[in-house]
Symmetry: C2
Subunit: 126 residues, 2 copies
């Protein structure tokens, strides 16, 4: 009402309104979520969440993403068995990225690798 550049309205979800009011989302309503193995510190993968996916992650104990390719909620491990049990969730200082510390069952990557970054090392040049 007061600005020409309206923020993305938060979608209807079960998320705590105080958290929803803080969140900054991309134009598609999504924000990145980093999954990290809680004890070893391994960065397992990066997924995307909307408000409802974050709500489910905070309330069900299972890490839940929004699949951009399938356009549906994706409870990690429902198909593969490679569940992510949620240990803690933190929002970053800009309120636009989430870090989920999890206990990863088996491989986080669909290729069977432990993390999605295992096979992708890029060469450094001097």
């Amino acid at each position: 009402m007061t600005s020409g550049s309206a923020p993305v309205p938060p979608p209807a979800s079960g998320l705590d309104p105080e958290i929803a009011a803080r969140l900054k989302r991309g134009a598609d309503g999504l924000f990145p979520a980093i999954a990290q193995q809680y004890d070893t510190g391994e960065v397992l993968m990066l997924g995307w969440m909307d408000d409802e996916a974050l709500h489910r992650t905070l309330t069900t104990g299972r890490c839940t993403y929004w699949s951009r390719s399938r356009q549906e909620y994706w409870v990690k491990g429902d198909t593969s068995g490679h569940v992510q049990h949620v240990k803690s969730v933190a929002l970053d200082c800009d309120d636009d990225t989430v870090l989920v510390r999890v206990d990863q069952v088996g491989a986080a990557c669909h290729t069977g690798d432990r993390t999605c970054f295992d096979a992708g090392t890029l060469p450094l040049a001097q």
Copy 2:
């Protein structure tokens, strides 16, 4: 030429064409880059890169992002002194996210916190 949904064209940059051909970018030409402390495993922050920022990160030894708020390249630490020395870079299995393992000088967060996630823990519900 063969499809109705054209991919985002890679911008002109110094990035190795083989890596550029693999990269998948958002509609804004950017992709997320996770910075992790190489020895402790701490997830320090998430920034955004375009091809040129990744090229500079791979070739200068200093982690370089694209600042969405300032719309300019941002060599982490140039202003604050809180440099990120690049130890390794990996692309994920979907070719749309980068993990940069760094040696972080001082605080990664502009608030003075070691990481951008230190102050943002969200409550878990049962």
